[in-house]
């Protein structure tokens, strides 16, 4: 019986790299869905730019995971030949684009985290991760700037844009907690100085977020209940649909070179 899904040895470092790679791929894919359909041509450009940055990050991280794992996997096998339960991205990033407000709120929540995260990761004792972090941090800084400008414009724009932006914040807020969570696998890397502890970044992240949200005349939900699961493969219903599209060619023509 043929099987098309690869097996992955999820040692802590492989798992670490895959989680971040999946984050970047899935968000990059979502942004790429806008291409040709954005509210203005300048936004087609900007969304594609951010998508390209993220795809680039994903490729480097997958390649590193493959190298560390050493079982003959590569960036394309990781991206195209894992099933939904093998994906390790944050739930936030697989949420559908929705309207432009929702896409920008998702981007803002994540980029504000990623920027702090990658900046701190530049001090990783793992030279490859430190190098990826340096590049990703520069890119994330632009993502924060672009998305936060839009949050302010939408929040403080018209009544409709305010309503949509607030709705997006309310809907996506519960997915932000997962960014700061750490499991045992990752705790070991933190203790070894390979990874940094994201929980330490939460106060600064919250400060950035509340600053922009209040400038935008918007508000954060009171609820502190947070949804988790992506990091261990318990996803929302949205990821499966995304993957059926993303993987369709590799699944239909197994083993071919493109």
């Amino acid at each position: 019986m043929a099987t098309a899904n690869i097996e992955v040895s999820e040692t802590p470092l492989v798992l670490y790299a895959l989680r971040r790679a999946d984050d970047a791929l899935i968000l990059g894919h979502r942004l790429s869905e806008w291409c040709g359909h954005a509210p203005a041509m300048e936004e087609d450009m900007a969304l594609a730019n951010m998508g390209l940055d993220l795809l680039g990050q994903a490729r480097e991280l997958y390649t590193y995971a493959a190298k560390v794992e050493g079982r003959g996997n590569d960036e394309d096998k990781f991206a195209y030949l894992r099933d939904v339960r093998q994906y390790r991205n944050l739930l936030l990033l697989e949420q559908p684009n929705g309207d432009f407000a929702r896409t920008m709120v998702r981007q803002f929540f994540y980029a504000a985290f990623a920027d702090l995260y990658w900046r701190a990761m530049m001090a990783s004792s793992d030279a490859t991760l430190a190098a990826i972090a340096a590049k990703s941090e520069k890119e994330s800084a632009y993502h924060v700037r672009h998305s936060s400008e839009w949050i302010v414009r939408l929040g403080d724009g018209t009544e409709e844009s305010h309503r949509r932006a607030q709705g997006a914040i309310d809907d996506l807020w519960a997915y932000t907690g997962e960014m700061f969570a750490v499991d045992d696998s990752e705790r070991g890397l933190i203790d070894a100085g390979i990874a940094i502890d994201p929980a330490a970044l939460q106060p600064r992240w919250l400060k950035t977020i509340t600053g922009i949200i209040s400038e935008a005349t918007l508000s954060l939900p009171k609820s502190d209940w947070m949804q988790q699961g992506g990091r261990s493969g318990s996803h929302s219903e949205h990821l499966g649909h995304l993957l059926s599209e993303l993987q369709s060619m590799q699944r239909t023509f197994p083993g071919a070179t493109w």
Binding site: A38, P39, M41, L52, T158, E160, L246, T257
Partner: protein, 312 residues
């Protein structure tokens, strides 16, 4: 009349016309139409290729395709900017496209069915576009000529990428090669039509030639394209779907008659994707309206706040 002949003298002397220079109304109108059609084509052209971004078969191809479609958007933006120097706003130009009044290249009214179409568009559609556009880098209108120089550079990169996709397919499995051949079969004739009607039937060529907007005739460019493409198809091991094509004494490849009825149908709105393309662009425009309004409302609020602050 004196200005008109002075203008023509400048053209004849290969001088560049710039936005603030005097120019005949017909020159302005012709160029506005041509540049904006070209811009519309870049923007609508994002759709057939964009259709495969989410399904590209490797991460490298996915990134390259997204970057390519983004470049097309960038070309659209320079070209609208060049057209705006002639006095019509981008908004008006875009509205004319969305309402169906202004045209875009008919080639984008064909669907992308398989991944091989992405290779074929790069190889043939971009290849044909470059043939059309290289002479425009020397066009008499400065902003257009400069935009084309930048566009052509990127287009030839895209063309090479497309050809490389075809090479990979043709060296791949039997299914991949069949996919490549099928794509060539579907795109060949529409691509030949990209050069426009045969010379004896072309409307705009005379004045365009006089004004050095157009430097080669449709048939000349088409011939150049075919002669360049035949050896590439041979290299790929693909068969051009024109059994009657033959090389003449000058070494040029003579094609069989083109079905200009199809060309006219597609131009008249009856191509496979005309409705889908316009509907997609209109949807993006309409669904984006509240975003553009929000940005304007915010900009105004900000301005009036700054004025109020300055007055304190």
């Amino acid at each position: 009349v004196a200005r008109a002949s002075q203008f023509q003298a400048r053209i004849d002397a290969d001088e560049r016309i710039e936005p603030n220079d005097w120019m005949p109304a017909a020159y302005r109108k012709t160029l506005t139409r041509q540049i904006s059609q070209h811009a519309h084509s870049e923007i609508v052209g994002m759709l057939p290729e964009g259709n495969w971004i989410t399904r590209a078969p490797s991460l490298r191809r996915k990134a390259a395709l997204l970057a390519k479609v983004q470049d097309e958007c960038g070309h659209g933006l320079y070209l609208y900017a060049a057209a705006e120097t002639l006095g019509t706003s981008r908004e008006e130009l875009v509205d004319a496209m969305l309402s169906g009044k202004a045209k875009y290249s008919s080639i984008f009214n064909y669907p992308t069915l398989t991944w091989a179409d992405i290779g074929t568009i790069g190889w043939l559609v971009d290849g044909a576009a470059i043939m059309n556009q290289i002479p425009l880098c020397r066009c008499s209108y400065g902003p257009y000529a400069r935009a084309m120089i930048r566009v052509c550079k990127e287009e030839s990169f895209h063309q090479r990428q497309g050809f490389e996709i075809m090479v990979t397919l043709c060296r791949g499995t039997a299914e991949q090669k069949a996919m490549a051949q099928n794509a060539l079969d579907r795109w060949w004739w529409p691509v030949l039509m990209m050069f426009g009607p045969p010379d004896q039937a072309s409307q705009h060529s005379d004045t365009s030639t006089k004004w050095k907007i157009k430097r080669f005739s449709n048939d000349e460019l088409r011939q150049k394209f075919i002669d360049a493409t035949v050896p590439q198809a041979e290299f790929l091991g693909l068969t051009i779907p024109d059994p009657g094509m033959k090389q003449n004494a000058n070494g040029n490849w003579e094609h069989s008659p083109i079905d200009w009825d199809e060309f006219k149908q597609v131009l008249a709105g009856n191509g496979p994707c005309n409705r889908d393309r316009l509907a997609a662009r209109r949807k993006a425009h309409e669904e984006g309206a509240w975003v553009r309004e929000a940005a304007m409302a915010y900009a105004e609020k900000r301005k009036s706040r700054q004025l109020a602050q300055a007055a304190e």
